[in-house]
């Protein structure tokens, strides 16, 4: 095994906190159960790491195996990274292609390797139709730098992709790859809570309004599942506005400061279901609906 690979594996394992180590190693599935059992995880961390690296050497771990371990570590610690979101837009009249994961991975790798000689590309699929792509960049003359990889998480059933570091010159290349694979599933059935009411004894008086709300919600959020987002934060720094004259707050020179934080296991789906559920009026405030378009979820609102 290459010395650089050994060093890379060692440094990756050192990053993993002890309480997560066994879980991550099991998810990696490179070392067998038997091999893991030979390790005493109660020792000092350095000894455990040394033992693990030695086992990997015995099994001749490759750079790809090491890259996979790095992906798993990052998946466990994804909240420690800042992600940029890219949204692919469709040209009018483009056909909807069905998405083939295998084909996508093959051509992704080929395109990158053709363009840049030295690059390591690794993939890991997850349950939510998402594929994690790890790219380690090198140049024509240097081997890929495994310590500064870029991550791209692509949700194949949506037009969204998340990236983990400023891409600079490599962005157009990745953009091109996604263009050739831009696809969404055929329009899914609208299931925003408008159950088809089979019982004719139940009459919805506001059916027109219900349909209007459905329409607006669909226009704002689209038919596809929303990207998974857990927080949105709004910092307000505005002066008090009121119809009443001469209130103490209105005379205040300093702007009022306020922080509003929304959190949810799936914030955008929750916002999408607000109007159909009758909890909020449609259309929703543009401050909420602009999150996918502006690709940001931290806002500062000031007086103009």
């Amino acid at each position: 095994m290459d010395e650089t690979v050994a060093e890379f594996i060692k440094r990756t394992i050192l990053k993993i906190p002890m309480n997560e180590l066994i879980t991550i190693l099991k998810a990696w599935d490179f070392l067998s159960e038997n091999q893991l059992q030979t390790i005493n995880f109660r020792q000092r961390k350095e000894s455990v790491v040394q033992h693990l690296v030695w086992l990997c050497e015995e099994k001749q771990a490759s750079v790809n195996d090491a890259a996979l371990l790095d992906i798993i570590y990052t998946q466990f610690h994804q909240h420690q990274k800042i992600w940029d979101v890219f949204q692919m837009s469709k040209e009018p009249g483009e056909d909807v292609d069905l998405f083939d994961m295998k084909q996508f991975k093959n051509s992704f790798k080929k395109i990158l390797q053709r363009a840049l000689k030295n690059v390591t590309v690794s993939f890991r699929e997850t349950e939510e139709n998402a594929v994690w792509i790890r790219i380690a960049w090198g140049t024509q003359y240097t081997k890929p730098n495994q310590y500064k990889p870029t991550y791209v998480v692509y949700y194949s059933q949506t037009p969204y992709a998340f990236t983990s570091s400023r891409l600079r010159r490599n962005a157009p290349l990745l953009g091109q790859i996604f263009e050739s694979h831009n696809s969404t599933t055929p329009l899914q059935e609208r299931n925003l809570g408008l159950d088809v009411n089979m019982d004719s004894r139940i009459i919805h008086e506001n059916i027109v309004e219900k349909e209007r709300v459905q329409q607006i919600t669909q226009e704002t959020f689209g038919d596809y599942p929303q990207p998974q987002l857990e927080f949105a934060q709004y910092k307000l720094e505005t002066k008090f506005k009121s119809d009443l004259n001469g209130s103490i707050l209105a005379e205040r020179e300093e702007p009022l400061r306020c922080l509003i934080k929304f959190s949810s296991p799936h914030l955008l789906e929750a916002l999408k279901s607000l109007a159909p559920a009758g909890i909020a009026d449609a259309p929703l405030s543009p401050l909420l609906t602009c999150i996918p378009n502006k690709r940001m979820n931290y806002f500062k609102i000031r007086d103009k």
Binding site: I202, I203, P276, A277, I279
Partner: protein
Amino acid sequence: MSVLRPLDKLPSLNTATILLVGIEDALLQQLADSMLKEDCASELKVHLAKSLPLPSSVNRPRIDLIVFVINLHSKYSLQNTEESLRHVDASFFLGKVCFLATGAGRESHCSIHRHTVVKLAHTYQSPLLYCDLEVEAFRATMAQRLVRMLQVCAGHVPGVSALNLLSLLRSSEGPSLEDM
């Protein structure tokens, strides 16, 4: 006119119509489904509306009972009810209106004080029922009760009128508001 009146239409044969008014459509739908599961000699019709006034374009039967569903978790729900009440003729409040408060079970989520809805019901001289509509068992029980009330309000129960029922329900209430 956009005001609902109880006796402006002729009744249909053996039909009893209830109008559920509330902002959360899913809850109303579930309650309607539960009501229709009940065995009932009368033909039931359930109308669901988010608010009043109702759109005038719909051809609807005479409404026998209006239930305003108020979600104690939502001030918007209370506000919606208060605004809708303006579109109900006074004669409806002779036993053909009732208030249903949901969400009392999750105290920490309640943003409307119980006293507020008690006062509202008292102002409109109408019964106030509590039921966590999200819980299936409670909903089924409430549905049974509403079906029975509806039959009385539609005049399908001989010897009992809506007004009778109203005075019966009122006397079983606790101390009056002034004593609270």
